[in-house]
Amino acid sequence: VGWSEIQNWQETFSESQTPLIQVRVQKGGRLFSPGRRAREFERVILPHTQGLMRFARRLMPDQAEDMVQQALLLAWRGFDRFRGESTPRTWVFQILVNTVRSEARRFQRLPVIVSLEENDFRLVARSSGDRADMLWAIDRLPDDQKEALLLAAVEGFTCSEIGVILGVPTGTVASRLSRARSSLREQRARVMAMEMKRKA
């Protein structure tokens, strides 16, 4: 594992970031006619739908589509106000995180029915295999750690970009990532031990 591999990986994820809009936005003022605005939105924001959906699905599996749709519409409505202080990708992920959080707050006020069996690995019907184990493990991390790790490991954001998305300092992101990686490893070890016990 070398330095160049890390850099290549970062560059791959940075390809979809479009500097053109930032240049235009930095000139200030209203930039696009309504038709042009729609085309720019289509070009700059919509290509990130897949990443948004991937991320939302891990945070709110049942409402991922609604969350992403809501976030994209909020982004569309606020597209004129986007000032290019971050990349369009960081910006739209930030909107999604806020959307998910406000939905979670709303959801917390509702009575929740919790199955006691749900958290028991042995009783949950699931597919086996390394990837399934990994998904099972990440889904069980606390939300703050899960958000940071998914944004870093899967979406390829830097710690400072994650700080912008989550609204926390870069140092906090770094410590969340450290905790998340060690929790994920522990969860996986637990899953694997149980799996071996079950097979035996």
Binding site: A38, M53, T170, V173, S175
Partner: protein, 238 residues
């Protein structure tokens, strides 16, 4: 010799993995890794864990077609709503511009008739006037289709008339003698805006209105007299 501790190296590891360590910090971190197999192993394990997580998440199919379609539809609806709003705004602005233009025209003729009344009636500057039956001939020449208003029952007798050019148009200027003073009534073939308006200019009371199909402007010394005559000409039995 390592200048940073293993603890600090672990703390900086997330920044190293996201390629945010630069300059001296990166140099020191790399030196530490070169001399510490435990931290080097930890970096490798963390990178491996990230790679496995990425592979696992990316292996799940993500269908975005439905969501994108719904977003595009919503955007299109909002786009047309914005266009409709913009259209309404333009229509409102056009209407306001028309009203302003119309009232400015109205103000223009009120001002012109007030000045003409002062010069020709109050100051009595010498003019060539027509009287009696010649007034009807003058009205025809001016293109007035309606009959000349008779204000006799209100105490005003038609005294004289002449054609004059006001605000770029030819007007029939009628002068009526009243119990106290004279009033002027200006008539012009219809191209007015149909708006009625009362105003005061230089102490004179004026009324701009449509008399049947004729644009009219009445000038009087008295506000009450002006109002009642305009009302009578507009709605009365004249």
């Amino acid at each position: 010799m390592n200048r940073i501790s293993c603890e600090n190296t672990r703390r900086l590891m997330p920044l190293y993995l996201s390629a945010e360590l630069t300059g001296d910090a990166l140099g020191e971190f790399s030196n530490h890794l070169a001399g510490c197999s435990s931290c080097f192993g930890e970096v490798e394990r963390q990178m491996g864990l990230d790679r496995e997580l990425r592979d696992a998440v990316l292996s799940e199919p993500v269908a975005t077609g439905k969501t994108e379609t719904r977003v595009r539809e919503q955007i299109r609806r909002e786009y047309w709503r914005r266009c409709a709003l913009a259209g309404t705004g333009i229509a409102a602005a056009t209407f306001m511009a028309f009203v302003t233009f119309a009232s400015s025209r109205n103000v223009g003729i009120l001002d012109a008739t007030a000045k003409d009344h002062v010069a020709e009636v109050i100051k009595g500057q010498p003019r060539k006037w027509q009287a009696g039956a010649d007034i009807n001939a003058l009205a025809r020449r001016a293109g007035i289709q309606t009959s000349i208003p008779d204000l006799a029952k209100d105490g005003y007798a038609l005294d004289r008339a002449r054609l004059c050019k006001l605000d770029g148009k030819t007007w029939l200027h009628l002068v009526y003698k009243g119990p106290v003073h004279e009033i002027s009534l200006y008539l012009h073939p219809d191209d007015g805006e149909g708006q009625s308006r009362l105003a005061t200019v230089d102490g004179l009371s004026l009324g701009a209105f449509m008399f049947k199909t004729t644009e009219a402007s009445l000038v009087s010394d008295s506000r009450d007299e002006c109002r009642s005559l305009v009302n009578e000409l507009l709605y009365g039995t004249l």
